[in-house]
Amino acid sequence: MKSSSLRRTALPAVAILTVGLTLAACGDNSSSGSSTSGGGTLNGGGATSQANAQTVWRADYQKANGGTINYEEVGSGTGVTNFTSKAYSFAGTDAFLTDEQMTAAAKSCASDVVEVPAYVSPIAVAFNLPGVKSLNLDSQTIADIFNGKVTTWNDQEIASQNSGVKLPSTAITTVHRSDESGTTFNFTEYLNKTSPSAWPYPANTVWPAKGGQGADGTSGVIGVLSDTEGAIGYADDSAVTAAGDLGVVSIKVGSSYNPPSATGAAQVLEASPPAPNQPATSMATQIDRTATAKGDYPLMLASYLLACQKYSDSGTADMVKGYLTYVVSPAGQQAAAKTAGSAPLTPALSQKATSIVSQIAAS
């Protein structure tokens, strides 16, 4: 009796296991077969902001050259850590390396560290007010709103910059990222650099101010903005455009108000001074948040790719070099702009990045 009931449950279980294992084995065979036909495998990862662009770059590169390139969206911090521990051959990071990180990475590479901008994107300040599609705000007002000082949409501080726009008395709900994020870092840096008196908090990946609602990730912020009348938040411009129905703030640059623009962001990056203490292979840039040239949009994010200048293995060196060359090339930048909504590097930056990447070689 007992043994027969055991058999009744055991038999199907064994059968399922066998089928499953067979299928898994089949899967293994086919995938390993396809990967050996092309080139090697390259492992990388890091900043989540680059995820969409990386998907396009990887697909394009693999189609042209074969091989497999992996990009894990583990976040900038883990990306840098894994790059330094050699788990990744390349990494993406939203913040350029600190001096200590650079020293550690260079030691692990046993060469200089290549750090090139790969993904530049304007950050939009978006809001949900039926009937209002665009507003002019200076950074002081944006800081006051996110600080909880300005609490209704018809506040004098907003109205004075938007004559002719009918503003409701709706309460303002500010929305920020609840996860640590490079977008938050760049947004808070912009506010701190342009209006230090209204926004005393230094740039941080963690939202520093009190009040407001935190939402998980870019999609989370967009979701809350779409669901909540009177809400205002910040997110990657491409995500705001994709959402469609949100109003977008034109920020005050010099004496004019500029809406988010890819060219505006790219030209700010080109005009910004390099970060101090960087090796010749690094293009780390201290973004000039107070830029005032025509069309500038200094509220932006520049995400970098990290690689070693020298690799012990020539196969890896060639693949990293090939991949990064494509990423910073005009073609690669255009591909990302088309699908991820990023700002293509200016020709000058693209050329400089290409010449740095071309020096990657086997040691």
Binding site: G77, P208, G211, G212, Q213, G214, D227, A231
Partner: protein
């Protein structure tokens, strides 16, 4: 941990000693299974302790926007307790009601369908609950929360401060958690209600008890310890639930008891999930340290529950 070991120790004592090979093999397999669990628990604890140790005493910058470990974790602890409390308060009456209906009131065919549906609820992934709760349910619960704020705003749980503009509050998170822990509490209490000795039930009825009195005097006393265990398992899930809370709750680092306000601090588990990805190594240690606190807190809750159950059983035995 001792509680996990004791049934394993008690088992072999009651069975007569045996020398058959099959029996010995099987006993060895069960022993291996039991000790594997212990091993895993110890491994998790060791990992949390080693990786998180430096998180307790790091440089003040690590605890931004706060400056010390205690001030960093305190808001998270308050939110974790509040969310779980709402979940248990809402879920337990429903779960006991459903379990009683299924075990004692419903016609057999309806009962089996209903039981099956409740079990199905347990199969819905928490991400789906998170999406549904944040984008859909929150909007419907929002007017009710404004009502709570307007009429009971004098209580610290529903005021002060403006009510939530979109329903993404700790209240909504607690309701979704309640839905998520409902199946496990229902399933366990149902099993125990069914096991009530029929003789006792019939005796109660024969003495002239109504059906409700029979349940009160025959079923509940018999099932009490099992009900407490069921609630504790549900509470454990609520304490540790991550994705649903992370996706629903509008977060802010301010400590607040107000569960219908604009935003509340994240729970410990949700905070780890939200921040781990982009965290620096120091912050990762900090997050792991908060995980250690949650791990120990969950243990504490379980031990307390077992102690209470044990005391009740001792009382009943007397």
């Amino acid at each position: 941990m001792t509680a996990t070991v004791s049934p394993e120790k008690a088992g072999p004592d009651t069975t007569p000693p045996t020398t058959r090979r099959g029996d010995r093999t099987f006993a060895a397999i069960t022993r291996l299974a039991a000790f594997t669990i212990l091993g895993v628990l110890v491994a998790v604890f060791v990992f949390l302790a080693i990786e998180g140790w430096s998180g307790f005493t790091s440089v003040p910058d690590t605890y931004a926007p706060f400056t010390s470990f205690v001030s960093y974790i305190w808001p998270l602890v308050v939110s974790t307790i509040l969310a779980s409390a709402i979940a248990v308060i809402v879920a337990v009456p429903f779960a006991v009601g459903i379990a009683l209906f299924v075990s004692h009131y419903a016609p057999p065919r309806l009962a089996s369908v209903l039981a099956y549906m409740i079990d199905l609820l347990a199969a819905v992934p928490s991400v789906v609950f998170g999406l549904w709760g944040g984008r859909y349910l929150a909007g419907y619960l929002q007017p009710f929360q404004v009502w709570l704020h307007d009429h009971f705003g004098f209580l610290p749980f529903f005021g002060p401060g403006p009510p939530t503009p979109n329903g993404r509050s700790l209240f909504t998170a607690g309701i979704v958690l309640a839905i998520m822990i409902l199946p496990i509490i229902t399933a366990i209490t149902r099993e125990i209600f069914v096991q009530t000795p029929t003789l006792q039930e019939e005796a109660a009825l024969a003495l002239g008890a109504t059906r409700w009195e029979m349940i009160r005097y025959a079923v509940f006393p018999y099932a009490r310890s099992g009900m407490v265990s069921a609630v504790m398992l549900g509470l454990g899930r609520a304490l540790g639930e991550t994705m649903a809370v992370a996706m629903i709750l509008a977060t802010t680092p301010e400590v607040t008891l107000n569960v219908v306000g604009t935003a509340s601090p994240a729970t410990i588990a949700a905070n780890i999930a939200l921040n781990y990805k982009e965290a620096t190594p120091e912050r990762q240690s900090l997050l792991i340290a908060t995980g250690l606190v949650l791990f120990l807190a969950t243990f504490l809750v379980n031990f307390t529950a077992r102690w209470i159950t044990g005391r009740n059983q001792r009382k009943l035995a007397r």
